[in-house]
Amino acid sequence: MKPSASIEAPEQYFERMFANQSDFQSKRLVIGGIAYALYYLETMIDPSQVQDYILRPLLLRPQDAVHDVVSILDYAETEQLEEASQAVMNGKVVLHRGKESRLYLLGVDLKKERSINIPINERVLRGSNEAFIESLDTNLNLMRKLINSTEFVIKQYTLGRLSQTKIAVMYMKSIAKPEIVEELDKRLNSIDIDYVEAPGFIDELIQEKKSSLFPQMLITERPDRARAYLMEGKVVIAATGSPDIIILPVSFWSFFQSPEDYQISWMLGSLLRFLRICCFFITIALPAFYVSVSSFNPELLPSAFVHTLQSSLKYITLPPVIEALSMILLLEILREATVRLASPVAQTIGVVGGIVIGTVVVQANLVSTTMVIVAALTGLASFIIPSYEMSSAVRLLSYPAILLSSFFGLFGLVCFLMLIIIHLCRMHTMGLPYYKPPFGLSDVKDTLFRLPLWTLRKRPTGTAAGDQTRMRNPRSWKR
């Protein structure tokens, strides 16, 4: 709908459009004999900017064209009233000058955002201490500052019929595989939903395997981590209102990488990486192993060890399965309680969890001491895994493992591990295999271990299609 030259017509339109909006304002002024009208949502704009950069210049130079007078960078003109009303929703001031048929859209939106904090969920000892925040612009700014290259592309999408959430897709033009970017574009465009809760909704709506426990996208709050993956040809999705960004397509091994691995010496880094992968198996298998050894295959262990184990089980009435299940469940309850509890009372958890449950349960002969050790070790091992999604998934996997090993002993556990491996081998993310067994040196370089930087000369072939050279001649000074 086009506005007519008269000042009343758009006013009527806006009044009708924002009839019940109590924060909608329309101001009529006359400057130098010309009628002006301003439309805006007072909760969305910064009044001091309106006064300083719109009203004052207009007062000083009432006869000049609006474009020349107002000193605002975010300036646009339109003749469409619909566009203007959307601009009002986005926090712009719509200015209408009498006898003109166009409307001026002036961006003076109020920016309320928290300052950049240190990462809370992914802490490291060495390395950057910046984390993303809820504002998309700030996040993009952080990323641009980390990658000063025209190769770094940011593509914006708007998702959510009602929420109109802004989504930014980032990738390196010369490295990323064009098919992946296109596929992602296709999937994002196909999303039709009323509002978007990033990153959870996006993750669920674009992932391939609907029913898998394993996370198929890496979620991080660290810009340095995002950059590291961008440089491998991966794609990063950021969204307004979310301090977490999505990295895809990632492989199973990415969930065991931490930015810190590359800050410390490669031997230490490899050790830590290997430790995390071992912890993956410990979390799944240790309680199940305990169950199968204590109830099925005690001959697996030397007799002295079995005697110690049996003596701790002597007065326990519960069967080992129930023991294991209840302790692992308890661990989960404790973990959930720690997350939900307000921080001043969080210490209670330590007392309740550590002393009451840990000690008293054993004294009451409900659970054996060995089981307490096993449960504690399992919990700790799962928390070592850097990705929250992965560590939760792995902890959940220990329940079926316990159940199966209570039926079949160690054989059940082995079958369960086989099932997991088969499941992993069958998974794909964005058309790439999710899990590749470490087979050959090129596969373990940056997965099972973190070999020295100068051995990682090539980018991973799966995601990096174009330029694969990461380093040309590192350490050439040595010759």
């Binding site: 001959e299 160690l410 086989m418």
Partner: protein
Amino acid sequence: MMKEGTISGRQLITLIIMAQLGTEVISLPHAAALHAGRDSWLAVLLSGLAAQIGIMLMWWLGSRYPTRNIYAYAPLIVGKPIGAVINFAYGGYYAISGLLVTLMYADILNRWLFTFTPKWPILLMLLIVIGYAATSSLRNLALISQSFLIVPIVGFVFIVFSGNQGLEIRNLLPLLTEGWNPVMKGIYIAFSAYAGYDLLLYAYPYIETRSKKKLLLAMTIANACTIVLYVAVTLVCSMTLGLKQLAVIPEPIVFLLKNYRFKILQGVDILFIISCACIVSATVFVYFFLAARAFQHLRGRGLGKQHVWVWAIVCGCFIASFFISKRDSIMQYGSMQDKLSILMIVGLPVILLMISGLRGTGRSRA
């Protein structure tokens, strides 16, 4: 045509090794010693060489039709009706072989670990795992095999070093005491241990190697690895245990592994038997996969879905397992399957090769 992703030469090696290894890792020394006596290792070695000849034949046959798998070119060679019969025969053969391998393994498990557990829960568990794997594509099967390869490698190291308690070279001497006859019998018995390389019949067009020769090389490497493993197992067993002992112990390797006593781990033998589930399931899922593909190829444009066929086979095998429960009957069927496998993976390809050579089909395409 059913679509199938390509696999690399390295993946082929793993797939073939894992398909060849089976319960024979545990039972071969006993079975070979029963027939070939002291020279069982020689029989196993020669049998591996015979398998190599079989591989060459298949490679030759496959290279005549480099864009098709056996199920697709069998009808081309002998015409549609007989081709369908051949495909059906392969499907049945692979399903039966898979069932027998699973049964033999379950039998071993039952005797060593689950003395009082009925057989069906164990079989069900195994068959579910195998069925789940067999429903995936060839490429995923290769990935799964690669993941499981660690088990035979570790097992091999343990078996080889278990010999350090006293290898008696005199147990092997003198060579060929009773002439070549028992050795020939041993070759025949051991040959079924090498079955599994017939995957090449199906996989030939999906392998990404630079040349035909590289493909043959990959197959040879795989077969060589299997030969080394089997011969090592047989040698270690027949050097540590006497002939009389070997004749009565059906799973001698488990006994040898019992020798290991670590401060923190005692039951290496149990661990080995249990982790053999990986080796066995890797064999069987390849069989079930091949069977499902064979049934799918009954009709030119594809018949049914792969996962339906696989689960149907799994169900069939589970039901059939109730009827073959005694060890004797398993062994009986096993010896029948030995004959069948020679017919299916040696006889039939040779016949196909001859007919295709006579009719000259496929040459123009090559």
